[in-house]
Structures are given as structure tokens and as C-alpha cells.
């Protein structure tokens, strides 16, 4: 929803999108768990052209000490885009946008992570966007959830995220960069598949009630596709004999 005019045909008469996908088709997704040695848990995701690395530390001592909570652990998230993640060099200092995305990702993970088991500690989640192509917050969240599970942090459920949106008055699944810039709406959704609960819902754009309901419906469908891949990534690391 960049509001930018473009000559690009976002959706042709056959219902094929600018990158050749159907309206309800996500991009190609691959997830790998446990890619870093020094972090307690880690994951790498390729979500179309998005490439994201997530690392988890913890539970560990809280520094500065005044941030700690005697009743529960705390979750700290950092979403960060590396300077070469976009076509024009991005200043590596945390921008307003990154700070906000860090916050929404934290709030999307908090319902799943059982922090009350570790009073006075912190769980730190670091997400590095190595290459961005629209929908990075959802992809980062997917990688973060796998990294948390890899670190052995107790969770009520996994968190899977996928965006839905609207281009050319049609509801679509998994909005890419072009569709985000020139489309009509973008709606990231994070979802706990077993508990059937939504933990993140943002909407940038204008939709009718029917379109909104449709968006939620296909967004959740996308989350379920992601969930299967998250499961597979963890199984590949922990139960390799089951995979072969």
C-alpha cells in the first residue's frame, strides 16, 4: 500500500499475478532450523525473495537489571534490516519502522511463549533481514517462532504468519513487494494454528467487510501452509530418521 502508481499489471484477466502466482498461492518458502552455533536457537527462512536469519538467546539474566520482572520473564525482540537488504543502502541504525515492527512481533509471540515459567529472566530474539521483498515482518515472525522452539523455550503453540491483501479489487494471499507498493491493501496475520487464535492483525488500506472476512480466511490458510513447513524444519533437525 505504497500508493505508488505503476504500469505493471498486478493481476491479468486469467487471474495470474505479476510474479506468475495464482491469487491464493504463497511464494516458495524454505525454512531451516538450527543454523547458528553460538545462539541457543536459530532459524533461516527464505520466503520468496525474502532472506531472514533469526537467533534466540535465553532464558538469561536481564541487563539492565531494572527491566527484569519478579513475576515473569520478559521477551525482547529486535527486527533489523541489514544495509544491503534493499536496493538503496539502508542506514543500519534502528528506524521508526523497525522499532514498531520489533514491537508488533514481540506482541505476536508473547501469547505463545510461556514466560511465566522463568521469572527474572529475558528471552532475546534477534531477526536480521538479509534481503527484503515485501512481507518481511511475517517471514521474520515465522523464523523467530522456529528459533524459539529450537532454543527449547516452552511454548503453548507455534506462531505462523502470512500476509493477505487486495490488488485490482481482488483478495490475494502473500503480498510481494510490487503488490505492496502498488496494491490497494496489505494485511499481515500471525496465527497460532492449534489454538486457533490470531496474535497479530494489521491492515493498511481500505476493504469492505466481505473483503476483510475473505482476507482473514485466506490469510489463515496461508498461515497453515507456513505451519506445515515450520513443523518440517524442526523435524528435519530433531527427528532426521523420520524424514528419510
Amino acid at each position: 500500500m505504497g500508493g505508488r502508481d505503476t504500469d505493471m499489471v498486478l493481476l491479468d484477466e486469467n487471474g495470474i499475478r505479476c510474479d506468475g502466482r495464482k491469487v491464493d498461492e504463497p511464494r516458495r518458502i524454505t525454512i531451516k532450523a538450527g543454523v547458528l552455533k553460538n545462539a541457543n536457537g536459530s532459524a533461516y527462512i527464505e520466503f520468496g525473495d525474502n532472506k531472514i536469519l533469526a537467533g534466540v538467546y535465553g532464558p538469561r539474566d536481564v541487563h539492565p537489571k531494572h527491566m527484569s520482572n519478579a513475576d515473569t520473564g520478559i521477551l525482547r525482540c529486535r527486527y533489523h534490516m541489514v544495509p544491503f537488504s534493499v536496493s538503496e543502502r539502508k542506514n543500519p541504525a534502528p528506524s521508526r519502522r523497525e522499532i514498531e515492527i520489533s514491537k508488533v512481533i514481540r506482541e505476536a509471540l508473547e501469547p505463545a511463549v510461556m514466560l511465566e515459567r522463568f521469572p527474572r529472566t529475558a528471552v532475546d530474539v534477534y531477526m536480521e533481514i538479509l534481503q527484503a521483498d515485501g512481507g518481511t515482518r511475517c517471514a521474520a515472525l515465522d523464523a523467530a517462532a522456529v528459533a524459539l522452539a529450537d532454543a527449547g523455550i516452552p511454548m503453548r503453540d507455534m506462531v505462523s504468519a502470512c500476509a493477505a491483501g487486495k490488488v485490482a479489487d481482488t483478495v490475494i494471499l502473500d503480498v510481494n513487494n510490487e503488490e505492496d507498493q502498488a496494491g490497494q491493501a496489505d494485511m499481515p496475520i500471525a496465527y497460532m494454528p492449534n489454538l486457533n487464535q490470531i496474535t497479530l492483525l494489521q491492515l493498511d488500506g481500505i476493504m469492505s467487510l466481505e473483503e476483510y472476512n475473505k482476507c482473514i480466511e485466506i490469510g489463515i490458510k496461508g498461515c497453515k501452509i507456513v505451519y506445515e513447513l515450520q513443523k518440517k524444519a524442526l523435524a528435519e533437525k530433531y527427528f532426521p530418521e523420520e524424514q528419510s
Binding site: D157, P193, K231
Partner: protein, 224 residues
């Protein structure tokens, strides 16, 4: 894989039966849900998940190996490979007539010393309290510290200690196993120490396999 034992990840429903939700599971209505990556087990009316990853969480009566990091005038602080530090009160080492004025804690345990201790008390509000007043506990004078994942300690010990006893007898070494994933091995014979280390690393690497004790024994016998 049998009906009873399943590979699970967080959020997976382990079972719906009338069971008690034990270690690493939560009850949600009638569903028993796993909270970690591991292998589920149903025994004695309780469901538990044996974790394959994760940090050590102190539990009362666990035997741990700690490393002295610092001390106050009344207690030592020990790194126990967890998110909490262990406290070892000076009265435990000096006895009841300990006096903060005359006794110097440095004389008994220094920074970097390894200690085999038991967790005497641990709750949500305080850091875990350690004790060394028991058989086989106290300062570890010699040996090499080996760090493995705390989730693999049960495999290293084996059923009624079979695995660890076998490694000790095959390699002529003394092995102190802490539930926190820290293991200290010592031996008169340097070759034995190398073999013991190799066996411990093998258990860590192949913790999910069946018949591991036999595999480790074969490896050690082949080394001879």
C-alpha cells in the same frame, strides 16, 4: 513409532485421554499439548515430553556441577549452566561455627573451582540454594569439565545407571554427572580420559538411538 511414544513440537496435541499433564505439557480443556520439541511418553496415567533441546532449569534434589564465579562474605555464587546462579552458603562448608569475621571464604573455594552440589531449595522468587552436605558432594579436585546438553543427561546415566557405570569401568575413570549438563571426568590414565570423553560425546550425538549402551560398549572395546 508406537502409539505411546511420539515425536512432538510445541503446540502438538499429545493425547486427549484422561491423563495428568506432567513435564513439558499443558492441559487445555481435554487436550494435552506439548510445549517443547521432544518425545512424548505416557506412563502411570501421566503424559510427559522428554525434551530434545533447552536450557537446564533447577529442580530440588538435582545433583549439579557448578563453577565458582564469585563470593560474598556469607556465600559463594556458582555458575550452574542455567539462567539462575546457584548460592552455596558458607555454613555448608565451614560448619555451624562459621563466622563471617574470622573465616575467609577464599581459603576453601576459589574462583573457577568445580563443585558437585545438590539443589536444596529452588522456587520462583529466589535463586536456587545449593548444598554440599551429603555423600559424594563437595569440591572436585581434579578432572576435566565436559559440557553437554542437559536434555541428554538421562541417556548418559542410562537405566539405573547402566550407561555411566559401563563407561567408568571400561575406561578406568571417575565421572561426576551433573543434571545441568556439566560432566567432570577424571582418570589416572590419560588414555582412559580420552576414551571417556569420546564415549560421552558419542552419547550426546546419538542420544535418540536405541540400544545405545551396546553401541558405546562396542566402540570402547574396539578402541582397546
Amino acid at each position: 513409532m508406537s502409539e505411546k511414544r511420539k515425536h512432538v513440537i510445541p503446540g502438538d496435541v499429545v493425547t486427549t485421554g484422561p491423563y495428568r499433564a506432567d513435564q513439558n505439557t499443558v492441559l487445555d480443556g481435554r487436550l494435552i499439548i506439548s510445549t517443547t520439541v521432544g518425545v512424548s511418553e505416557i506412563a502411570d496415567g501421566a503424559v510427559r515430553v522428554i525434551p530434545l533441546t533447552g536450557m537446564y532449569m533447577p529442580r530440588i534434589d538435582d545433583m549439579v556441577v557448578g563453577k565458582v564465579t564469585t563470593h560474598t562474605s556469607l556465600a559463594w555464587e556458582l555458575d550452574i549452566n542455567s539462567c539462575y546462579v546457584g548460592f552455596l552458603p558458607a555454613t555448608d562448608v565451614f560448619g555451624r561455627d562459621f563466622s563471617a569475621r574470622s573465616d575467609e571464604l577464599n581459603t576453601r573455594l576459589k574462583r573457577g573451582d568445580l563443585v558437585a552440589a545438590r539443589i536444596a531449595n529452588s522456587d520462583r522468587s529466589r535463586d536456587p540454594l545449593l548444598t554440599i552436605v551429603d555423600r559424594d558432594l563437595g569440591k572436585i579436585d581434579s578432572g576435566e569439565l565436559i559440557e553437554i546438553s542437559s536434555s541428554k543427561i538421562p541417556r548418559l546415566i542410562g537405566k539405573r545407571g547402566t550407561m555411566i557405570q559401563m563407561i567408568e569401568s571400561q575406561t578406568d575413570s571417575m565421572i561426576t554427572v551433573g543434571q545441568n549438563g556439566w560432566v567432570v571426568a577424571s582418570s589416572e590414565d590419560s588414555n582412559g580420559l580420552i576414551k571417556a570423553k569420546k564415549a560421552i560425546r558419542m552419547v550426546e550425538r546419538m542420544a535418540h538411538m536405541h540400544n545405545l549402551t551396546d553401541k558405546v560398549r562396542k566402540m570402547l572395546e574396539a578402541e582397546k
